[in-house]
Symmetry: C2
């Protein structure tokens, strides 16, 4: 094809004959690949027709079975779906047990060895050819689940309704729910496929109450580890508890001797759809944004000095005689509230649903916080942040839910079996 | 942390102490990586705290400058945004020229060497730390652009309004537009960042008319090359023209001697938001779906025999005495219409905007077709498909637009300069 393409529209101001060929080093020094970098469309031929390799992005697998459910401690994937279901009228404990059995079997099959496999009755083949792509499927129970199924005797105290936070703007249609499923995968079609399978496997037992789509960085797009950036451009998650810390499990998981016994190895998930008022935020200077957060935007270092991982020095006075970390800075309010260590693991997805009815981006954070006890995790932190945090002027909590996420299951078992057959 | 976590909730039906450790080979035989595969949360420690590498997913770069704009012949990226703008009232040719200059400079900077760089005035730092991730930004002009800017003398004939297709259900608020920008990147935050930069760089010259988000497979999630699957689970794009074919450029690009001269090296983009009626589709058996399409779902081979790339044999009679490819099969109607070779390059993104107001998935295809002349590309094909295609019962075209996408620009130039300064 090349001949017709390498002669340029001669004489016109934009005319030239060769696409500039540049080599580049990636942000972390990886060898750069220039796609379509040769002459005109001919150069892109190589890229479009090039062999494609299945990498660890596709071949990585997270086992479904285990003491804890998958999708809590693993890094959040590039694509996520959160979906809540309400049981159908008349559905009872037996209906729910059969549903959780179907869902667990489907999740086990999709996350299984090799290529994802799916119960044929539900499979739309959208995930065919792809690897499991770190797919996880995580199931939880909302407070209303227990009354609908006659299981109120087993309702955990920790599942008490979250308190009202005065700054909330909650849409009840996108809040709560009898059942919750969190799906994550590093490939969008694998995640979509899992969502459809879970919806179909619900059959007539439960109907979708709400559903949200989210995303994170694609593996390999950055050399930065887990503290990614949110849609405000801030590095997010620096103070997250690390699995290597001695009290990680105590913060995140219900202990073996915990109550109720069916929640041993489980966790509680607080889900908040937090819209970011990005047009207002972006009008601030970077210096002003940094004061609101209390950290440098470029690298996440606290304004009291050091690097991202340096502890925040709340007493530090700056050269201007003022507190280096402002009185209403996000890190100050959050740090005070958590009494020296957040007792929750935040594992969020960003969301972007286009333009809102107000003309501004309908975008922000699908915040998912995991903890052994919401009353020692999310609730006290949010009580302090709500209103008092300088950042809260740029956020709007639009939906909220709390779910009890039981421990994982073993071969032949299903998630929630200890509750539903206990 | 380990001690408390390796003892299981003994006695309960779901109790066991170790997450099963499995090794797996990916779909194409790549060495599988099991994430979180050791005991409980302790095993996931390694995954969450593991070093992260910038791979070619992040470091790949598509040069902005060239004879053709980027984002046409390169493989469609994992994440895409389509956004249309209308010029502000009173905006003229000079306003438009300044806008295209700002947009081109921003796109050039974001797709530049090394880490993406961005004019500071627009940068929200959401793309910081990431590589360019194959970012492309492509600009086009709608028919209304020419009357608003006094450039009707330069309006291409090929930009005549698309004919009415009786089966269309078009939402005019999400159709057409003075200007169009297509953004693609293999990382969702890099793509979002580019979208925000383009929106901010529009300033008061133009306002967003509509905006849509799409996706494709993540690089490395599959070993299958460019013919990916759509949300119906079908392999899509088998008959796309290949850059290696001798008439590829003739089909896709306006030749150097073409008219108008400012479109030399350019292409015309037909954009259709095609909702898939997935709940109806998924109720069909796979055998019935295959008859609707005329290809096997698993591997895309025509029902007349062979493999994915075997030419369709429309006259082939099956063992039951009937045509192997049904009379209304998609491949038959599309093949007849295109007279033996589609004169357009389809480069689509899937979309999924959650649950529609009708309770069914608001999901389908952001269809983008590239051609030297829509009257020899999309229009004759769609005339035949509209209504007559068995597949059309499961599709609904909800939005439509046609844009003139000029050739690329060289160093110091901007896209559309030959039109706006011609």
């Amino acid at each position: 094809m090349g001949d017709a393409e390498t002669d340029a529209g001669s004489g016109a101001p934009g005319a030239f004959s060769r696409r500039r060929l540049l080599s580049t080093a990636g942000a972390a020094g990886a060898a750069g690949l220039v796609v379509g970098g040769a002459a005109g469309a001919g150069g892109a031929l190589a890229a479009r027709d090039a062999p494609v390799a299945l990498t660890t992005v596709g071949s990585s697998r997270v086992p479904f079975e285990g003491r804890h459910q998958a999708g809590i401690v693993e890094p959040a994937q590039a694509r996520g779906h959160l979906v809540a279901f309400d049981l159908a009228p008349g559905a009872d404990r037996r209906t729910a047990a059969a549903l959780l059995r179907r869902w667990s079997d489907a999740a086990r099959a999709m996350t299984g060895t090799g290529s994802p496999t799916t119960p044929a009755a539900y499979d739309d083949q959208v995930a065919d050819d792809a690897g499991p792509s770190s797919l996880t499927v995580t199931f939880g129970f909302g407070r209303t689940f227990f009354s609908r199924t006659g299981l109120t005797a087993h309702l955990p105290e920790a599942l008490a309704p979250l308190p009202d936070f005065p700054a909330d703007h909650l849409d009840t249609r996108r809040s709560n729910g009898d059942l919750w499923v969190q799906i994550g995968a590093d490939d969008a079609l694998v995640a979509f496929h899992a969502l459809r399978v879970i919806q179909k496997a619900a059959g007539s037992a439960a109907a979708v109450r709400w559903q949200m789509n989210g995303f994170n960085r694609t593996p390999g797009a950055t050399a930065r580890p887990m503290t990614g950036r949110n849609l405000m451009g801030q590095i997010d998650g620096t103070n997250n508890p690390k699995p290597s810390e001695p009290d990680f499990a105590r913060k995140v998981f219900v202990p073996s001797a915990g109550t109720p016994q069916w929640m041993a190895g489980g966790s509680y998930a607080v889900v908040r759809r937090i819209r970011m008022l990005l047009d207002s935020w972006d009008r601030l200077s970077v210096a002003r944004q940094e004061k609101v957060i209390g950290r440098r935007k470029s690298d996440g270092a606290p304004l009291s000095g050091g690097t991202e991982t340096t502890p925040v020095d709340l007493g530090k006075i700056g050269p201007d005689g003022a507190l280096a970390i402002a009185g209403d800075a996000h890190v100050r309010v959050a740090a005070a509230a958590s009494n020296g260590g957040a007792a929750m693991l935040r594992r969020a997805f960003s969301y972007h649903d286009g333009i809102g009815t107000d003309g501004a981006p309908d975008a922000g954070l699908l915040f998912v916080a995991w903890q052994a006890d919401p009353l020692r995790g999310f609730v006290p932190v949010q009580r302090k942040l709500d209103g008092a945090d300088g950042l809260s002027r740029f956020l709007r909590h639009e939906a909220s839910a709390l779910f009890a996420v039981p421990g994982g299951c073993g071969p032949g078992e299903y998630v929630g079996q200890r509750l539903l057959e206990g």
